[in-house]
């Protein structure tokens, strides 16, 4: 009797605490019932809340639980088979099979020339040879697996023209085929490209010595009506610019149509923006603004998804740059602010040279080995950091920003000298005392520098080997 009294409350407690059993999911329908890889499939049924898995023929998919009765899923690379939904209450499988038809996908769907692309076709025959074409060129001979899936990775041709292209899977024996589009691009993500300020678009292949003479204007668009602006940047077929009135404009690169605009205010001009991770970042006299590259269409006005205020205002000529996934913003007291590009959170600011009190006047350029350098105002100092520590160079005539080519950094000074960061002064001089200095461009083992009169080319062996004058300057190259 005493035992019963002792155990009864415990038993009752356990019963009371036991969680309600989750209802088992059920699948009543799905639509469409057939389609190629990447198809959107709507699954209807019951008790879908909290679904942990949606599979097609046993292969997991990307899905969204829209409601307790509806799931939207994307067809993975798979073979024909039933659909299954798993929740805490169990797994439901469709009685009917989803029929996979021939189809293909590319990942990523946009890539620069020489970049690797993985292409996958499903709904093909099992264990069969399939030619994979980039446009008309047979790039790879893939062999499908037992599920009729073929997946290969190949490098896009160096001379792939920008724009829309096609990937075609063509079974060699039956000519069962699947096709998917892919876009080739050579985006320009920052003044100087690739964050090293080298001014070298290494992926451009369409414009060459034989075709450049056929360039023709396709559009011209008044851009705020003032000459001052940010350096132009481009991604996803959109050209971005900011002006002196604090207006951001995003234009369709092929038509000049205004895609979206924003009005963060302040003086955006002459401060370098950066594109990174599908976002574009602008800097005005006080704040950093983060926008989605594709934040609007049809001229819509966008709002930043974060705004961050800097304690020390950014100078004109400075701006944003990026290294190892971190934004760096320049400021008026010579400090450099690390910024989280996702949240806008500021890291601890640092100096490369505390004498740069006049403010930083170029974006910080980073080399692949972690060195960085920038120009500053005041007594015009160029400060640099490399593995050996900080160093600085002072020139009363002014200095340009730095361009890195490999581990070597180059800059111009207003007294007509092209400098290497290691201290070497190149013997050939630009126009002496011209003040027409600009950040050099570096590529093909050559440094290109402009002054008031010409563009000059230098190599380490020959130093200056040409000077080209086509009109009166200045001649900024980067």
């Amino acid at each position: 009797m005493r035992q019963w009294i002792q155990h009864a409350p415990a038993a009752l407690f356990l019963l009371a605490a036991a969680p309600a059993l989750a209802a088992a999911p059920t699948i009543t329908n799905f639509s469409p019932t057939l389609g190629p890889i990447g198809s959107t499939v709507v699954i209807t049924g019951a008790a879908f809340t909290g679904a942990t898995s949606v599979t097609f023929g046993g292969v997991g998919s990307h899905y969204t639980v829209n409601s307790a009765t509806k799931i939207t899923a994307s067809l993975p690379a798979t073979a024909t088979g039933p659909i299954a939904v798993t929740t805490a209450g169990g797994t439901a499988a469709s009685t009917a099979k989803f029929n996979v038809t021939p189809g293909a996908q590319a990942s990523p769907v946009s890539m620069h020339p020489q970049g690797n692309v993985t292409v996958t076709a499903s709904g093909m025959d099992a264990y069969t040879a399939i030619d994979v074409y980039f446009d008309l060129t047979d790039e790879v001979l893939a062999v499908s697996n037992g599920s009729g899936i073929a997946s290969v990775t190949f490098r896009l041709p160096a001379n792939a023209a920008p724009g829309a292209h096609s990937i075609t899977f063509d079974e060699r024996s039956t000519h069962k085929a699947a096709q998917t589009p892919i876009t080739v691009d050579t985006d320009w993500l920052q003044a100087g490209f690739a964050y090293n300020s080298a001014g070298f678009n290494v992926f451009e292949g369409a414009l060459d010595r034989t075709t450049v003479s056929t360039l023709d204007v396709i559009w011209a668009k008044t851009n705020g009506g003032a000459g001052n602006h940010t350096p132009l940047v481009e991604q996803n077929g959109i050209i971005f610019s900011g002006d002196v009135y604090g207006v951001v404009r995003a234009y369709a690169a092929t038509t000049g149509t205004l895609v979206w605009t924003a009005n963060p205010g302040g003086w955006l001009a002459q401060r370098t923006p950066v594109i990174y991770g599908g976002n574009i970042y602008f800097l005005n006299a006080t704040n950093i603004f983060a926008y989605k590259v594709n934040c609007g269409t049809n001229g819509a006005t966008c709002k930043p998804f974060w705004t961050q205020t800097l304690a020390n205002y950014p100078n004109g000529g400075g701006g944003l740059s990026l290294s190892n996934g971190v934004l760096y913003a320049t400021s008026s007291n010579g400090e450099i602010y690390p910024v989280n590009p996702t949240t806008g959170a500021l890291g601890t600011p640092f100096y490369a040279d505390s004498n740069a009190y006049g403010g930083i006047t170029s974006p910080v350029a980073f080399s692949a080995d972690g060195s960085f350098a920038y120009a500053a105002d005041g007594d015009t100092i160029l400060a640099a950091y490399s593995g050996g520590g900080f160093s600085s160079y002072q020139n009363t005539y002014g200095v340009s920003g730095v361009a890195f080519g490999g581990h070597l950094g180059f800059f111009e000074s207003g007294d007509g000298v092209l400098h290497e960061l290691n201290g070497r002064e190149w013997a050939a001089t630009l126009a002496n005392g011209s003040y027409c200095y600009s950040t050099p461009a570096v590529g093909y083992g050559t440094v290109f520098a402009g002054d008031c009169n010409a563009v000059y080319a230098y190599t380490a062996e020959t130093e200056r080997f040409f000077g080209r004058t086509t009109g009166w300057g200045p001649y900024p190259v980067s």
Partner: protein, 88 residues
């Protein structure tokens, strides 16, 4: 800036394209107040007005059609790349 063996500069407020090996003038046009950029086979500059230049083969009205199967010629020298079976 440099792209595909060509140096682009803003020379006297005009964009110039120079051969990187000897500085020969390959093309000039438009207006600029800073260095132009090159992206996707096009050249862009800004002097308060943005100018866009492109090649005739890349103009917006040029449509690149996906090839038909009859246009495709297999390369019989390619080596097979096998797709592994899915581990379920």
């Amino acid at each position: 800036m440099i792209a595909n063996r060509i140096v682009y500069a803003c020379a006297g407020y005009t964009i110039v394209a120079l051969d990187e090996t000897y500085g020969g003038l390959l093309w000039s046009g438009g207006y600029c107040s800073g260095a132009p950029i090159v992206a996707n086979g096009s050249v862009y500059s800004d002097d308060g007005q943005i100018f866009a230049f492109t090649l005739p083969t890349l103009a917006p009205n040029v449509i690149r059609r996906a090839p038909s199967l009859s246009q495709l010629k297999p390369d019989l020298s390619l080596v097979e790349v096998r797709t592994p079976d899915i581990a379920k």
